[in-house]
Symmetry: C2
């Protein structure tokens, strides 16, 4: 199958993106890094983050090598049956390396940007915003650039989406480590710092006397920047690959069907269909670049509004530009195929639109001026327990609107262009991911900048400026989460369909007990996974609490500021703890799907994935939104409402916030990655699973 | 199809059971109700409970009448096509009335037993135990007796399990109200009493100065006795009906199939198969009666041990006795059918055995001397937030072992005798439900007795005796919960299969987008339902807190004991709140399944049920066990560990307990009933659903 030349759009967009990222990196690095104390603090953060990443990458290298060898020698090759599976395994290596590179680059610039953003705040809101936003954009653009270049080049060389699947698997397995490990790290430090520093010693946020402050800042970088970046990298690539694989599969069959009727595919049509997701992503990247430029232009006045308007702007540009490119893609196709292309364009637009709707609902459920969060804040008046019950309930309630949104998006996408439409809705939702990640990575940079401003004694005014920048990032963050969860959900749905197509599963009938058992296990896994991650944070935070208490007790001069706290020790605890604790969750994510497939067969494995996707959606949305709402309820009280700081109400709200920390920043967002990794594992290891009773498994029902 | 005479076993067992219940009632009522103050307190509790039940039953009468008319006029009759659906509708009325009667009788004796048990404690542990246990047994025996008599008689008269389905639907719809309403009532009072009384004013448990004390005691009766009784009544009847319907359906086909091969069914064989669940339940009831006698005999020495040993004893007797009755059932059948009967006996035994295993795992996760609860208690040392995180995680982790247990039970049962085996495993698990409910209802009676002893000034010694009796009920309660959740899960699985069989659904293929959407909605519903119930408790508890604070502030003499608190006001708040708050959850449970069926068809509705069953299992186990563990962690600290009462550690543990209250006593156990009601709704309204596009729904995919 010839690769259509229009694929070049994706490649060029990717290269431009990397070029822009390097340029932004240059812009950030040439800024003034601030006074000596600031540089010292930034140095600590940098050292901590680098140490963590170094150990993390060492472990990852071993893991990746092992999985590479397994894929190479154990899995049957689909490209050249009988020979080694080298193409896919190589793509896996490249995908892993790409994900690690994107994570590293983004985080590196993030670390450099924080002290520079703090210093820039002395010059005003605009300067501070620019530095932080450029810093964040480096992450966003690198992620998208590496992904597009990697996928296009691999597809160009091998001409088979199945090889690209290896690339996606590489990206995902790295993302799982980055997301879980980073999430555990950042919340171990954050929860520990809050519990002793804030609750017991009444120290303000980011106080340099708190031994866990630096660890907390390090956590923002390894968890929120590198982690979130690799998470969206992984969904982005997976959505593209799922769509490509489905297109190729329908090409083999010769037709693509939806409730609107069957469309006969020509060879040229199939060729175009396979690259359509890549081309539309290239278009989305161009739209993102324009969006970023727009934000840069508008950022001066109202940073928060600028971030959001930039997103909507990118969305509009995508709608127009993608229609234009659909015209180009349609050249030389049959009228029937052209009609299909337009329906596909429609599904991608619906995907993007519903992503924004999802973002809005998660914003609604976590904004302090809306009813849920306001009720949670008021519940704090009745004490610790009631604020927990309230946040817990609203978190669960918040699952309903996005579920309806996803169901409608899925139904309409399916109606327009079948299961391929579901995949294209996911692609559409992620099309402007460049803007999304940029906005999101901006958050931890200004958060860190605020901390450095505090520790560098830049004065109240600068801190207030940094605060303003910080709060601007919050809405953006809520919207990103909505996007991330929605996109991951549609992506794994698409992967599920592509898995079923590849494994040639006639049906996944829940009336078959084997299939029902698969679904049962699938529904339980996200609960188990969340439990392990929250427990990991709780366990490590307890260690952190003990260490901070020890430092304060053994050396009371830390509290008076005469002696510096031992930052290294707390960073050590977070580093070691998080790396140790991510072993079991990551093993689970790969071994459980393989075991289900071997024991009960591929149809049961499909139902397992479906069960995990649905229950994972519930847990991800619940945990993210409950955490966000508790966080903002606390902030609202800290703004002087219901008595403000230091009251019993405030203390209860802090309890809510602390419970929500690992919900929203560790377990919740890690579930997305878990789902993608499990789905890809199923597809990658399918050749192996088919060896057991022809895919019926060892215990067929 | 002739009804085999052996069905008489179930009827006789049911009649004996009611006879015993009346005798126990007599034994309880002739006891000394204690001093004047005790009778006064007991009178308050009785008045409160009666008022609640009266209003509740009034609402229920309207609801039942409406549903009766809908069933009568809207649903097509299956018995006499074309005529009114009067048989099933009548059975529905009888089922509702039976459930209301059982709830009322059980609760009435419970109320009478509490003050008498308190008074008996002055004579020693044995006397107190006897009164409380007899009181609880009235509930257990009434539930089982009413169920067996109702089902046998209706089947004897109409000879069609489809009519019995109406009886089951009646039982379930009442159970939903009793369980949700009672759960909200009891926790509104409990949480309110704890938050102000314990946490703010340092009043001990059950202190008469606390205005919510009586409401709390009322709650124990309406929530734990009447609610739990109607919950198990509902699962019990539903499991029997599911098995009967499956047997009848296979009888029509002429074969029953499992991985062990197909068995051809004769007409006589089918007749026996249909009544087998009833006969085995009759046998289980006899085993339960012997178990109850055994507990009465042993109760003197170690009450806690006696309750458990009684359960194991009843289990063993069931194994033997049911084998004997299998021999009787086998008379006149073909050798092939006899083999099948023995396999069915095996599945019922496996069901009962796995029920006990489930009870054990929930016991493990909630016992203070085991690692999870001990870790949760230690987490309280790090403050409110950490104890919540710890309990949350262990609660989620605790889902895994029972899930594995259910999966194995289901797989083996299916392997032995197909989907009918799954239904028979549920029947087996519930066979000794008489013992289980008796043990469970014992708990709130001694809990109340303790409160009355406290308020009646019976002295430290008597209170300590009551405390000992109280703690004996805890393990029994944990085991009951394991049973209840496991049994409900297997029952709804069986109902799902019977629904599919009746609706003639060829498959429920998750690769069909309509089916996938059904599963998606199903997975979300238990989350929504839990959210609504927890929110209801939180909202009402906040009102209760305000009322208690108001009473203390307006009348400080309440605290000194000079003026009596206004109990009526707090009971009012709990009554009105709980009845108002259960409207939405109960509407949801009936309208959502019908809507899914009308919109997306019966296959999608089947997947909806499957999704709800699986996610409901996760939520039910998680919430029950997290709540139980927090409760026991707090008790362990109150026993003097980690500093004991009044410390910061204790306060954090109270927060955990308070959060756990609505988890374990409102939302968690209500999910079982929700699942049964939704499954039965699907079956009952199937005739209606098939009118929409022949069961494909308005939006077919």
């Amino acid at each position: 199958m010839a690769v259509p030349i229009i694929l070049i759009v994706a490649l060029i967009a990717g290269i431009i993106s990397i070029g822009m990222a390097l340029y932004f990196r240059y812009l950030v690095l040439k800024e003034d890094p601030g006074n000596e104390r600031m540089q010292e603090v930034a140095g600590y953060i940098e050292d901590g983050a680098k140490t963590y990443i170094k150990i993390q990458y060492k472990i990852l290298t071993i893991f990746v090598t092992a999985l590479f060898l397994i894929m190479l020698f154990l899995l049957p090759s689909r490209i050249h049956p009988g020979s080694l599976n080298w193409e896919q395994s190589l793509a896996y290596l490249i995908g892993s390396a790409g994900s690690m590179l994107a994570g590293w680059l983004g985080m590196y610039v993030g670390i450099k940007a924080n002290t520079r953003a703090a210093q820039a705040c002395t010059k005003g809101t605009k300067s501070g915003f620019d530095v932080a936003f450029f810093g964040g954009s480096v992450m966003g653009l690198t992620v998208v650039g590496v992904a597009l270049i990697g996928v296009s080049v691999i597809y160009w060389i091998f001409g088979d989406p199945y090889v690209v699947l290896g690339f996606s698997f590489g990206a995902s397995s790295i993302a799982l480590f980055m997301k879980c490990g980073g999430g555990i790290f950042t919340k171990t430090a954050d929860v520990g710092a809050d519990l002793v520093g804030k609750a017991e010693y009444d120290l303000p946020e980011d106080d340099p006397r708190n031994p866990a402050t630096i660890a907390d800042n390090v956590g923002d970088n390894v968890g929120d920047i590198a982690g979130m970046g690799s998470d969206l990298f992984d969904s982005y690539v997976a959505s593209i690959v799922a769509a490509m694989m489905l297109a190729a599969a329908f090409g083999v069959v010769g037709t693509i069907s939806s409730p609107l009727g069957n469309v006969t595919l020509t060879e040229a049509g199939t060729g175009v269909l396979v690259v359509t997701p890549l081309v539309l992503c290239g278009v989305g990247l161009i739209a993102s670049l324009i969006g970023i430029y727009f934000i840069k232009l508008k950022g001066s006045d109202e940073p928060g509004k600028a971030l959001n308007t930039g997103t909507y702007f990118a969305t509009l540009i995508y709608f127009g530009l993608s229609a234009l490119f659909t015209l180009l893609l349609a050249i030389g196709l049959t009228p029937e195929e052209v009609g299909l292309l337009w329906r596909i364009w429609g599904t991608s637009a619906i995907g993007l639109f519903s992503g924004i709707v999802l973002g809005f609902t998660s914003d609604y459920f976590t904004r302090e001026d809306k009813k849920p969060t306001s009720n949670i804040a008021h519940a704090a008046q009745e004490g610790h327990a009631v604020v927990i019950l309230s946040g817990f309930s609203y978190g669960l309630l918040s699952v309903v609107p996005p579920a309806i949104g996803i169901i409608i998006a899925m139904a309409v996408a399916y109606w327009l262009s079948g299961v391929f439409g579901v995949a294209m809705a996911a692609v559409g939702m992620l099309a402007i991911v460049g803007t999304i990640v940029s906005n999101d990575a901006y958050g931890p940079i200004v958060d860190n900048a605020r901390g450095i401003a505090e520790q560098g004694d830049l004065g109240e005014d600068v801190i207030r400026t940094a605060d303003r920048l910080d709060s601007a990032g919050n809405t953006a963050k809520a919207i990103t989460k909505g996007f991330a969860i929605g996109a991951a959900n549609l992506t794994v749905m698409a992967l599920l369909f592509s898995f079923a197509e590849e494994a040639d599963i006639p049906n996944m009938d829940l009336l078959n007990v084997g299939v029902l058992i698969g679904a049962f296990i699938g529904v339980v896994v996200p609960a188990l996974f969340s439990a392990l991650l929250v427990l990991a944070v709780q366990r490590n935070a307890a260690k952190m609490v003990d260490e901070i208490r020890r430092q304060f007790e053994e050396n009371p001069k830390i509290l008076t500021g005469e002696v510096a706290a031992d930052f290294q020790k707390t960073i050590d605890i977070a580093t070691k703890g998080s790396l140790r604790e991510l072993i079991i969750p990551s093993i689970i994510s790969i071994t459980i799907p393989i075991s289900v497939g071997i024991l009960f067969g591929v149809a049961s494995l499909g139902a397992f994935l479906a069960g995990a996707i649905l229950s994972g959606f519930v847990f991800a949305v619940f945990m993210s939104n409950a955490g966000g709402a508790w966080d903002n309820a606390k902030k609202w009280i800290e703004d002087g409402n219901l008595g403000g700081k230091g009251t019993e109400v405030h203390k209860a709200a802090i309890t809510g916030d602390t419970v929500g920390d690992p919900f929203k920043d560790t377990a919740g967002p890690s579930i997305n990655t878990l789902l993608v990794v499990m789905s890809l594992t199923a597809s990658i290891f399918m050749g192996l699973l088919l060896l057991f009773n022809g895919g019926l498994g060892l215990i067929p029902f």
